[in-house]
């Protein structure tokens, strides 16, 4: 198979993710999908902003009561760092260095898992400390839906990257799987883009009041 032929460092193309027509299609199609995802998350943000602090009665916790700076800062730094590590992975992919790419992807996955773990802890904390749940108020529904959709994307990204790593562990890089790795990393960056707006709009602005 042409796409699976072995490359030396010298014959490995400069942009392996776009070296075949399939790769080009995947690359463009995935960016278009991200354009659609932008609208999807914008709609969720819009819903959150419309329903922020809309609660049935005064006993309910509001945004300014529940969020905490330190925890959000830690999760943010973790996720931003995972974005850098996936850049490193793609750097090594372009240099045809499969082992280092896998190593950096593994770090990315670990950071992503840490982020998810902290998010679960955080949700748990809100539920038990503040009785701020998915069903307690419109605010709660909107908050957990927006942040939960993002968390779901992180979880999906983890499964995706892990299965790519495992599947290709034995056979290394070729022009068939290079686009797959590349768009998985694009997806991971996009998750980070969304998170930048979540920590700014939901958490920081929530604390400003």
């Amino acid at each position: 198979m042409q796409a699976e032929e072995k490359f030396t460092d010298a014959t490995w193309p400069a942009a392996p993710e776009k070296a075949t027509l399939e790769g080009k299609n995947k690359y463009l199609g995935f960016w278009l999908f991200l354009g659609g995802e932008t609208v999807l998350f914008a709609s969720l943000f819009a819903t959150y902003l419309a329903l922020k602090d809309k609660v049935p009665n005064a006993d309910h916790a509001l945004a300014k009561d529940i969020f905490e700076l330190p925890l959000t800062f830690i999760t943010t730094v973790i996720l931003l760092t995972s974005s850098l590590t996936s850049v490193y992975a793609m750097y090594h992919m372009k240099n045809n260095d499969f082992k280092k790419m896998q190593a950096w992807l593994l770090i990315t996955v670990l950071l992503g898992a840490a982020f998810l773990g902290l998010e679960v802890y955080e949700f748990n904390h809100y539920v038990h400390e503040f009785h701020h749940t998915f069903t307690s108020s419109a605010f709660g529904s909107a908050f957990y839906t927006l942040v939960g959709f993002h968390g779901g994307h992180v979880a999906f990204g983890l499964v995706w990257i892990i299965s790519l790593m495992v599947r290709n562990a034995k056979r290394g890089l070729n022009l068939y799987n290079a686009p797959k790795f590349y768009i998985a990393s694009l997806y991971w960056h996009f998750i980070d883009v969304v998170w930048v707006f979540i920590f700014t709009v939901v958490y920081l602005m929530g604390m400003v009041g």
Binding site: A10, P13, A14, L32, E37, L80, S83, L84, V87, T200
Partner: protein
């Protein structure tokens, strides 16, 4: 499908050049990342500090977020490279639709 289209006649010279260029780009990425963390820190500090009015903080941290996202898109996701015109068109069209949605939901949902 032409698999080897981007390599020049002398692969070893080409390889050296490419390695160097990739390494240089990676350096830029690290600088970008440092600035992103720095911006994040500033945003959190601006919120933590009591002295600012929220009329200042809100636009300020939003601006920091926008700059950070631009870094992500143009450096980490390589949109600054050539051949991203179509992609930019669609991404920003999506953003425009999304922003219109946000604007409406912040103005005319509660009557």
């Amino acid at each position: 499908m032409a698999n080897n289209q981007s390599n020049s006649a002398n692969p070893n010279v080409d390889l050296k050049y490419r390695r160097k260029k990739n390494a240089e780009e990676m350096k830029h990425q690290v600088v970008t990342f440092t600035m992103m963390i720095f911006f994040t820190l500033i945003a959190f500090l601006a919120v933590a500090y009591d002295g600012f009015s929220h009329w200042f903080i809100r636009p300020f941290i939003l601006l920091l977020a926008v700059v950070q996202v631009a870094f992500q898109l143009y450096y980490f996701m390589h949109m600054k490279h050539k051949g991203h015109n179509t992609i930019a068109l669609f991404l920003f069209s999506g953003l425009a639709v999304g922003l219109a949605t946000v604007l409406v939901f912040m103005t005319i949902v509660w009557l």
